[in-house]
């Protein structure tokens, strides 16, 4: 039976029942007609649906911890007031139900009573009969029972010494560990997270799926765990990364979030940072924004004083080498041939150190040339602003005797602390006619089958990749160019052009950990 308090209450009640999936067909039709009536109605419906959706979303995603912690410390009196209000509403509803039912009953029986009364009146009975509908009796009994139950409930809730949830916040007990975080797996295609997640308690291990996972700590910190990574939840604002990669976003409320790594600890000071632990136990920390402190952890569990890492800085912890350091990214100072040097001028970064068949040759700066052979056109790839052809000094054109070997030298520095294993030199090399040798610090780096050892690489380059032989300090690269023999020509052009790709390197500056504890 519909209780028509007001039309507004009625539609709001209908929407509420819709949100609880309790509408019948008739009421649903009424609701739909109301929604279609106007944009304002549709908007009002959307607002209620959104509130409901958002509440459900926040509960499921455990995003309400910060709000439940803000709950006012309501007294039992207020809780009792809420219940009392509820009881009053219920009583009012029951009374109205009684009233309406009574009216219906009266309508049904009105005619019969009238007949009876008429008959009884005609008999001049002295007894007055009070007719009480049974529905009234049932309703009155229900109200009385309900009131008694409500009073009893309120009484039990306000008794001292009982477990009154309205008075005291629930403290975690040993039988009931504290929920620390929720683990969500990422959708393999979109990378988005759905579903209710897996609750994590102290000591629980979180393993990322093949598409990665997200951990929402109740402190507010959010950890992105990369595929094949695993970590242990060790505290409400702490985790232990044993292997793999993670990125942490720490809002101000969760400042101080800590990531334990082998031999170290990274403590947030309000930031976003990533940590990677490789199978050998070496950790790399990148600060994406804000600041962290990097601490050494000793074997007996002490945490030493920390060193700050700020935005865009990277740190490293290597327990086997007892190393705690800051990583600086840099580029090797390589210079391509003829870069930013006009034609005809000496190249400041490349020199010619040896010419075969000329023991009296004095080393000197190589000269930048236009690439034109002089007496005939040669298909040398034209110069660009980034690199140009160079030749031996001391003569006007690049033409040299057949079979001559010309050794070009380039010096460059590798800073102390550079991770030498991270250096991979890549270059595009044009040469007329071919490379007879290539060395780094005297070490040969050219195999006999390399394309540059064959001819015809002046129209398009061949690639030269060198990843060993480097040392800290000054390094020497030497490329020896051979001029091919031509039967009909005792002399022909010869030259070299090298274009380096940028070579990123990692420089580790070791930090000096203090022996004192934080």
């Amino acid at each position: 039976m519909e209780l028509r308090l007001t039309e507004h209450d009625d539609i709001e009640s209908t929407i509420s029942r819709y949100l609880d999936d309790e509408l019948d067909e008739e009421a649903f039709a009424v609701l739909e007609a109301w929604v279609n009536q106007s944009r304002e109605n549709a908007l009002a419906f959307v607002r209620q649906a959104f509130n409901s959706y958002r509440l459900r979303y926040c509960f499921v995603k455990q995003e309400l911890s910060k709000f439940t912690s803000q709950l006012a410390d309501r007294s039992s009196q207020e809780s009792g007031q809420f219940l009392a209000e509820l009881m009053q509403i219920e009583a009012r509803l029951q009374a109205e139900l009684v009233d309406v039912t009574d009216q219906l009953e009266a309508q049904k029986k009105g005619a019969l009573h009238k007949t009876l009364a008429d008959r009884q009146g005609a008999r001049r009975t002295t007894q007055k009969t009070i007719v009480i509908p049974w529905s009234f009796v049932y309703a009155a009994a229900a109200v009385l029972i309900l009131s008694a139950v409500g009073l009893l409930y309120q009484f039990t809730q306000t008794q001292p010494g009982r477990n009154n949830h309205a008075d005291q916040p629930q403290a975690p007990t040993q039988e009931r560990p504290e929920l620390l975080a929720v683990l969500y797996q990422k959708h393999p295609e979109t990378g988005l997270t759905f579903g209710q997640g897996q609750d994590l308690y102290p000591g629980d291990r979180a393993r990322a799926s093949d598409s990665g996972s997200v951990l929402q700590f109740l402190s507010g910190a959010v950890v992105q765990l990369e595929p094949s990574s695993q970590m242990v939840v060790t505290g409400h604002n702490q985790c232990d990364l044993s292997l793999g990669d993670l990125t942490v976003n720490v809002p101000p409320a969760a400042s101080g979030f800590e990531v334990l790594v082998p031999g170290g600890l990274v403590r947030d000071i309000g930031t976003e940072f990533s940590v990677s632990v490789d199978p050998s136990g070496v950790s790399h920390i990148s600060v994406l924004s804000g600041e962290v402190t990097l601490h050494k952890r000793t074997g007996d569990g002490r945490v030493l004083a920390g060193h700050a890492l700020i935005e865009n800085e990277r740190g490293v912890v290597d327990p086997s080498a007892d190393l705690l350091g800051i990583i600086q990214e840099s580029l090797l100072p390589l210079k391509s041939t003829g870069a930013a040097t006009a034609t005809g001028l000496p190249d400041p970064h490349w020199s010619v150190v040896r010419i075969s068949g000329d023991p009296a040759f004095k080393p000197g700066r190589a000269v930048v040339i236009a690439g034109d052979a002089g007496d005939r056109a040669i298909d040398w790839e034209p110069n660009t602003a980034r690199s140009a052809w160079i030749k031996q000094p001391g003569q006007a054109d690049p033409v040299v005797p057949e079979g001559q070997l010309t050794t070009y030298r380039h010096r460059f520095d590798v800073p102390q602390g550079t991770d030498l294993s991270s250096i991979v030199m890549r270059a595009r090399v044009w040469v007329d006619d071919y490379l007879a040798a290539a060395t780094i610090n005297g070490l040969s780096v050219l195999g006999s089958t390399h394309p540059l050892t064959k001819g015809a690489h002046y129209g398009e380059p061949a690639h030269l990749i060198i990843n060993r032989g480097f040392k800290h300090g000054e390094n020497v690269l030497e490329l020896t160019v051979a001029n091919d023999h031509a039967e009909d020509r005792p002399r022909s052009p010869s030259g070299l052009r090298v274009l380096f790709s940028p070579v990123p390197v990692r420089i580790i500056n070791a930090l000096e950990p203090s022996s004192s504890s934080p």
Partner: protein
């Protein structure tokens, strides 16, 4: 071996194709995170069952992700995704045609039309909802938790709390009324309402 073998072409230092793909993926994730409340609300206003709505939301996310290159940057991402959601909702409605308790296509379209207006108040409404939730008392929060986290029906809540089903329904209705009033007041006047 420290030298590239014969015929090997060295990889370029930067793979621009891969960078573009990664950038699109990151942009989509960022846009989706902002749009999800709107899209979720739209879907759940039509699809009453929570699990059906979640499945549909995930489906829309996957379709939108696959079509991410069709999205024109600078245009309204929410509108673009809602248009995908509208088609999926209509398709879902076809499947549920035998169920009379689904909105008509006309109603689905009308609900989609008001999303543009609703989007303008979304941020304020979310903030207001968070604030207004924080001033509810524990009993109310407990009821909401049973309804929304544990997904219990009013009947089930009544059994668990030893309340009468009608009491639970009335309580939920009152809580929703209080929340909406608080939200409206906060959005219009910024006044704290207990």
């Amino acid at each position: 071996m420290f030298l590239a073998p014969a015929g090997h072409q060295a990889q370029p230092v930067q793979d621009t194709t891969q960078m573009h793909t990664t950038h699109l993926k990151d942009e989509f994730a960022k846009n989706w995170a902002a749009a999800q409340p709107m899209v979720g609300a739209y879907i759940s206003s039509v699809v009453r069952d929570y699990h059906d709505a979640e499945d549909l939301l995930q489906q829309v996310a996957v379709i939108a992700f696959r079509k991410r290159e069709d999205y024109q940057p600078g245009t309204a991402f929410v509108s673009w995704v809602c248009s995908i959601a509208r088609y999926e909702l209509l398709r879902w409605q076809r499947d549920k045609a035998r169920n009379r308790l689904v909105f008509s296509d006309k109603t689905v379209e009308i609900l989609a039309e008001v999303q543009d207006v609703f989007e303008t108040e979304l941020d304020d409404r979310q903030e207001a909802l968070q604030h207004c939730f924080g001033v509810l008392d524990r009993k109310a929060v407990g009821l909401l938790k049973l309804r929304y986290k544990d997904n219990l029906t009013p009947e089930q809540i009544a059994r668990q709390t030893k309340m009468k089903p009608v009491s639970v329904r009335v309580a939920l209705h009152r809580i929703r009324q209080l929340l909406e009033k608080c939200i409206t007041d906060r959005m219009t006047r910024g006044v704290e309402v207990d």
